[in-house]
C-alpha cells in the first residue's frame, strides 16, 4: 500500500469512525424505542447530546480524572489508527486494554461510592472479556500466518467458515463491551439502577462527552474487528453486513432479558468464551478447519 493510501485511511478512520459510532448509537436508541412500542429520539440524537455536553460548564471531581478521560479517548483513537494502518491486531487490542484501564482508574480516582463501585465492576467486566478478546487473535493468526491485519487482507479466503467459534466468542465480548443486557453490569444506558451510572457517575459536561466519544470509537472498532472475518475480494459487503447483523441481534437480546450478576458474567465469559476459542484453536491446529 502506498503512503498516500495509508494516510488517507487513517484520516477516514479518525473522522468517520465516530460519525458511524454516533449514528449507530442513535439507531440503537431508535430501534430499541420501536421495539418497546415507542417512537424514540431522532437518529442524530447522540450528536446533539455530545455537542450539548461539550457546551456545558466544566465541573471537575479531581484532576487525575481528567488525565484518564483524555487518556481513554486518545488511546482508543490510537487503537483505531493502528487498525486503519493494518498493524498488529494484538497490539491494537493491547492498546484497547490500556484504554480500559484508564477508564477504570478515572472512575476509581474519585472517592464516590457509585464511581468506586462502577470502577470495580468495570474491572470485573474487563477480567471477563479481555482474555477472550486477546485469545481470539490466536486462531486468526494461526490461519493467516501472523498477527498483522495486513495478513488477513492478504489471506484470500474469508475467515468465518473456519473460525466461526471464535466469532461467536467475540460476539460475547461485543455484548459485554456494549454493556447490553445481560451484561450491563458496570453501568447502564438508563441510569437509575443501583449504581447510578457506574464509571461515568463523576464525569460531567465536556468530560462525559470525551468518554462518550471514545465509546463510539470503541464500538466501531469492535464491529470492524468482527468485519475482518469476511474480508475477501468479492464478498467485501458481507464484512459490513455481518457486524451490523450481529449488532442488531445484540439489540434484540438486550430487549428480551434482564441484567445478570457479575459473578455469572465472569463464569459465563470464561467458561463459554474461552472454551469456544480453545476449541477453535485446537480444531485449527489439528487441521480440521
Amino acid at each position: 500500500m502506498s503512503t498516500g493510501w495509508l494516510v488517507g485511511s487513517v484520516v477516514i478512520a479518525v473522522i468517520v469512525a465516530p460519525l458511524i459510532g454516533g449514528l449507530l448509537r442513535g439507531i440503537d436508541r431508535k430501534l430499541t424505542a420501536h421495539m418497546q412500542g415507542r417512537i424514540g429520539p431522532p437518529i442524530i440524537q447522540n450528536f446533539y447530546d455530545l455537542i450539548k455536553l461539550f457546551g456545558k460548564k466544566p465541573m471537575v471531581a479531581g484532576k487525575p480524572q481528567l488525565v484518564f478521560a483524555w487518556g481513554y479517548l486518545f488511546l482508543i483513537i490510537t487503537a483505531v489508527v493502528f487498525f486503519a494502518l493494518r498493524q498488529d491486531l494484538l497490539v491494537v487490542l493491547f492498546i484497547l486494554g490500556f484504554a480500559g484501564v484508564c477508564l477504570v482508574l478515572g472512575a476509581l480516582s474519585v472517592k464516590s461510592p457509585y464511581s468506586q463501585l462502577g470502577g470495580h465492576r468495570e474491572l470485573l467486566q474487563m477480567l471477563a472479556y479481555e482474555p477472550i478478546l486477546l485469545l481470539a487473535v490466536i486462531p486468526i493468526a494461526l490461519k493467516t500466518g501472523g498477527f498483522p491485519i495486513t495478513n488477513i487482507f492478504e489471506y484470500g479466503q474469508p475467515l468465518l467458515p473456519n473460525l466461526w467459534l471464535t466469532f461467536i466468542a467475540l460476539v460475547i465480548v461485543l455484548d459485554i463491551v456494549m454493556k447490553k443486557s445481560p451484561f450491563d453490569i458496570s453501568s447502564s444506558e438508563h441510569a437509575h439502577q443501583e449504581i447510578v451510572r457506574g464509571v461515568l457517575t463523576e464525569y460531567s459536561g465536556p468530560y462525559l462527552a470525551i468518554i462518550e466519544l471514545a465509546h463510539w470509537y470503541e464500538l466501531v472498532l469492535l464491529l470492524a474487528i468482527l468485519g475482518l472475518f469476511w474480508i475477501v475480494g468479492s464478498l467485501w459487503w458481507l464484512s459490513i453486513l455481518t457486524p451490523l447483523a450481529i449488532w442488531f441481534i445484540l439489540l434484540i437480546t438486550d430487549n428480551i432479558c434482564t441484567r445478570l450478576t457479575w459473578s455469572w458474567m465472569v463464569k459465563f465469559a470464561w467458561g463459554v468464551g474461552i472454551s469456544l476459542i480453545a476449541l477453535n484453536i485446537l480444531v485449527v491446529n489439528l487441521g480440521w478447519m
Binding site: M59, F98, A128, L142, E202, I281
Partner: protein, 654 residues
C-alpha cells in the same frame, strides 16, 4: 584486564561487605556502600563493552570454593540445630537440617570418592556471555540503587522500631556480599562454582529475612532456607548425574551444547537444574517462602525477592533452555510456567497487603519467564530475557515505592493507601506509573507479553493451553494492579489544604531514576534488543527473534510499535494540564444522592442526621479467591507438576 573486572564484580562487593561489618559510623558506612555501588555500576558497563569471554582462575580458587561451600552448609546445619535447641522442634528447622544433610553428604561422598580429594574442574570455570552480562547489569545497577536506597530506609526503619543497637553493619554486609555472589552466580560455568554461589545467595536470603529477629521473621527465614535447600539438593544431584553421564563433565556449556535430544541421559540433570530454578524463583508449590520473606525490610524484598535473587532461578532456566529444546521437558516447563502465572495472578487479587501482592506478581512474572524458556523459540527466549530486564526494573521500583510509602504511613495495607495521590502526589504518581509499567501496552513488560503470546501461539495442543493460561493470567493481573492504583488515586474531589510532600532525596532520587529507566528502556527497546538480547540469543545458538526498523520490533508474525503509544500517553498527560486550569469553583464534590454534609467533606448524612464518613474499599473476593480457599488446589497441583517433571525426565517419551 578481564581478571580485574571479575574481581571487581565478584570480589569487591564481598570485600566492602566485610568492611561494613566493622563500621559503626552511619556516614562512613553510607560512603562505603555508595562507593561499592559506583564501582559495580562502572564494572558492569565495562563488561558490556568487553563482550563475551571465558575465564579460568588459578586452580587454587577451586579449593577455596570447595571449602567455602562446606562452610556455608555447615553454617546452615549450625543455625538449624541451634534453632532446634532454642525454640524446640518445628517443621522448618527439621526440614532445614535434613535438606542440608541431603545436599551436603551426597556431594561430599561424590567428590571424595570420584575425584580423590581433588576439586573437580571444568573448562572454563567462568564464562561471560551476553546473558550473564544482562544479569550483571541488572544486579549491579538495580541492586546498587536498592542498596543506596537502603541507606536511608534502614535508618527510618530502625528509628520506627526503636532499635537500640543498630544492626546495620550486618545488614549491609549481607546486602553487599549478596551482590558479589549474584555476579559470581551468573558468570559461573562450573556447576560446582554455580552451586556454591547459589548456596551463598541462599545464605544471604536467610540472613536478611531473619534480620529483624522477630519470631515470625525467624520462622519465615527457616522456611525460606529449607525451601531453597530443595534447590541445593537438586544441584547436588544434578552435578552427580552430569558427571556420571557419558559427557563426564561439570561444564554447563558442554551440557547445553550437547543437549538432551542428542543425549537423553542429560534430561535428568537438566530437570534437576530446572527444579533448582523453580525453588529459587519460588514457583508453586513452594511459593510460600517468598510470601513469608515479605516480613523482611523492604529493600531486602526489592533486592532479593523481586529484581535480583529470584531472577537467578529463571536465569538458570533460560541458560539451560537450549539444552532441553525439543524435549517434553520443554513443553512441561512452558505449561508449568503458564499455570504458575495464572494461579498466582488470581491469588494476588485477594491480597490486601501491598507487599504480598507484589510478591505474588513477582512469582507470576517469573512463571511467565519460565513459560518463555519452555516455549524455547528464539522469539520466546528473547522475550524471556527482556522480561527479566523490565520486570527487574519495574518490580524493584514498586517494592521501593512500597517501602517509601510505608515510611510515611507505617502500613503495608493497600486499604490504608487510599488517597495517597492527594497526600503524596509524587510518590503515588511514581507508584502508579510503576504499576502501569507492569500492566499496559507500550511498557517493556507488556511488549514481552506480546512477544510471548506471539511465540506461544505456535502449533500444537500444548501451545493452545499455554496461550490460554497466559491470557487468563494477564486478565487477572489487570484486576489487581488497577485495583491497587485505584486505591492510591481514590480521594475526595475537594480535599482540604494540603501539606506539601516531604522530599527525601535518597528515596525520590532512586525512584525517579528507576521509573525513568522503565520508560526510557521501553522506548529504546530496539537498541536494547540489538545491543544485548540479540547477541545473547546468537550465543545460545538461537536464530533471530526480531528485526527492527523505525524503532519498531518486528517478529516474523507481528509488529510492535512502542513509541507511538508513548506519544499518545504523553499527549493525554499534557493536554489536560495545559488546557485545563481547574478553577476552584469548577470542582465539585462526589455524588452521594445529595446527602453530602457540605461540599468537599467526604462525609454524608445518615441515621438521625449524623455525619457519617464515607468509606470506600477495594474489591478482594476474599471468600472465593482467598489464599485459604485456593491453596487447597494450588499446592496439590504444584506437587503433581513436580511428579510429572520427574516422570518425564526419568522416562523420556519420544
Amino acid at each position: 584486564m578481564v581478571a580485574i573486572l571479575l574481581a571487581l564484580a565478584i570480589g569487591f562487593p564481598i570485600l566492602t561487605g566485610v568492611i561494613c561489618l566493622g563500621i559503626k559510623n552511619h556516614k562512613a558506612r553510607a560512603g562505603v556502600v555508595s562507593l561499592t555501588t559506583l564501582v559495580l555500576i562502572v564494572t558492569s558497563i565495562l563488561f558490556l563493552r568487553q563482550g563475551s569471554f571465558p575465564y579460568s582462575p588459578p586452580p587454587t580458587w577451586d579449593w577455596v570454593i570447595l571449602v567455602l561451600d562446606y562452610v556455608i552448609l555447615a553454617y546452615f546445619l549450625f543455625v538449624a540445630i541451634r534453632d532446634f535447641i532454642q525454640r524446640g522442634m518445628s517443621r522448618h528447622n527439621v526440614l532445614a537440617i535434613i535438606l542440608t544433610l541431603a545436599s551436603g553428604i551426597p556431594l561430599a561422598v561424590f567428590e571424595f570418592s570420584k575425584a580423590g580429594y581433588l576439586p573437580l574442574e571444568a573448562e572454563p570455570t567462568l564464562y561471560i556471555d551476553h546473558l550473564s552480562i544482562v544479569m550483571c547489569l541488572i544486579i549491579s545497577i538495580i541492586g546498587s540503587l536498592i542498596c543506596v536506597y537502603a541507606i536511608r530506609y534502614m535508618k527510618d526503619h530502625e528509628e520506627h522500631l526503636h532499635v537500640e543497637k543498630t544492626n546495620q553493619p550486618r545488614f549491609f554486609f549481607f546486602m553487599l556480599i549478596f551482590l558479589g555472589a549474584m555476579n559470581g552466580l551468573v558468570f559461573s560455568n562450573n556447576l560446582l562454582w554455580l552451586a556454591f554461589f547459589w548456596e551463598m545467595t541462599t545464605l544471604c536470603c536467610y540472613a536478611l529475612i531473619r534480620h529483624d529477629e522477630t519470631p515470625i521473621a525467624i520462622t519465615n527465614a527457616f522456611r525460606a532456607l529449607w525451601m531453597c535447600l530443595i534447590g541445593g539438593v537438586g544441584f547436588t544431584l544434578a552435578i552427580i548425574f552430569a558427571w556420571n553421564s557419558p559427557l563426564h563433565t561439570l561444564s554447563l556449556m558442554t551440557i547445553i551444547e550437547s543437549g538432551a535430544v542428542a543425549c537423553p541421559v542429560l534430561l535428568l540433570p537438566l530437570a534437576l537444574l530446572c527444579l533448582a530454578g523453580f525453588t529459587k524463583s519460588a514457583q508453586v508449590p513452594i511459593q510460600g517462602w517468598l510470601l513469608g520473606a515479605m516480613v523482611a525490610p523492604t529493600p531486602v524484598s526489592a533486592l532479593l525477592h523481586s529484581s535480583t535473587m529470584v531472577n537467578a532461578g529463571v536465569y538458570l532456566l533460560l541458560r539451560i533452555a537450549p539444552g532441553f529444546q525439543g524435549t517434553n521437558l520443554s513443553t512441561f516447563v512452558a505449561v508449568y510456567g503458564g499455570t504458575v502465572f495464572l494461579v498466582t495472578s488470581i491469588l494476588a487479587i485477594s491480597q490486601s497487603e501491598g507487599k504480598r501482592v507484589l510478591a505474588y506478581s513477582t512469582i507470576g512474572n517469573l512463571g511467565l519467564i519460565i513459560l518463555c524458556a519452555g516455549i524455547n523459540t528464539p522469539l520466546a527466549i528473547a522475550c524471556g530475557i527482556m522480561l527479566i530486564i523490565f520486570h527487574a526494573i519495574s518490580k524493584g521500583l514498586l517494592f521501593l515505592c512500597a517501602g517509601a510509602i510505608e515510611s510515611h504511613i507505617w502500613s503495608r495495607n493497600i486499604e490504608d493507601m487510599e488517597g495517597l495521590a492527594a497526600r503524596l502526589p509524587i510518590l503515588a504518581g511514581i507508584t502508579i506509573a510503576g504499576m502501569l509499567s507492569m500492566l499496559v501496552a507500550p511498557f517493556g513488560v507488556l511488549i514481552t507479553k506480546w512477544g510471548a503470546m506471539e511465540a506461544a501461539s505456535g502449533i500444537g495442543v500444548w501451545s493452545t493451553l499455554v496461550v490460554i493460561l497466559l491470557m487468563a493470567g494477564s486478565g487477572a493481573t489487570t484486576v489487581f494492579w488497577t485495583k491497587w492504583a485505584g486505591r492510591l488515586l481514590c480521594h475526595s474531589p475537594l480535599p482540604g489544604p494540603r501539606k506539601p510532600e516531604p522530599i527525601i532525596p535518597l528515596y525520590h532520587g532512586v525512584l525517579i531514576l528507576l521509573i525513568a529507566c522503565a520508560v526510557v528502556f521501553s522506548i529504546l527497546i530496539t537498541p536494547i534488543y540489538n545491543g544485548v538480547v540479540a547477541p545473547a540469543l546468537a550465543e545460545a545458538g538461537y536464530g533471530v527473534a526480531f528485526t527492527t526498523g523505525h524503532w519498531f520490533l518486528k517478529s516474523p508474525i507481528g509488529i510492535f510499535a512502542a513509541w507511538p503509544i508513548f506519544v499518545v500517553v504523553a499527549l493525554a498527560l499534557i493536554i489536560p494540564s495545559l488546557r485545563i486550569r481547574t478553577k476552584p469553583e469548577e470542582s465539585q464534590a462526589a455524588y452521594m444522592c445529595g446527602e453530602n454534609v457540605e461540599m468537599g467533606a467526604d462525609e454524608f448524612v445518615a441515621v438521625a442526621d449524623e455525619r457519617t464518613p464515607l468509606k470506600t474499599g477495594g474489591f478482594y473476593v476474599e471468600t472465593a479467591l482467598g489464599e485459604k480457599n485456593l491453596n487447597r488446589f494450588v499446592i496439590p497441583i504444584g506437587i503433581v507438576f513436580l511428579i510429572v517433571l520427574f516422570a518425564i525426565s526419568v522416562f523420556p517419551l519420544p
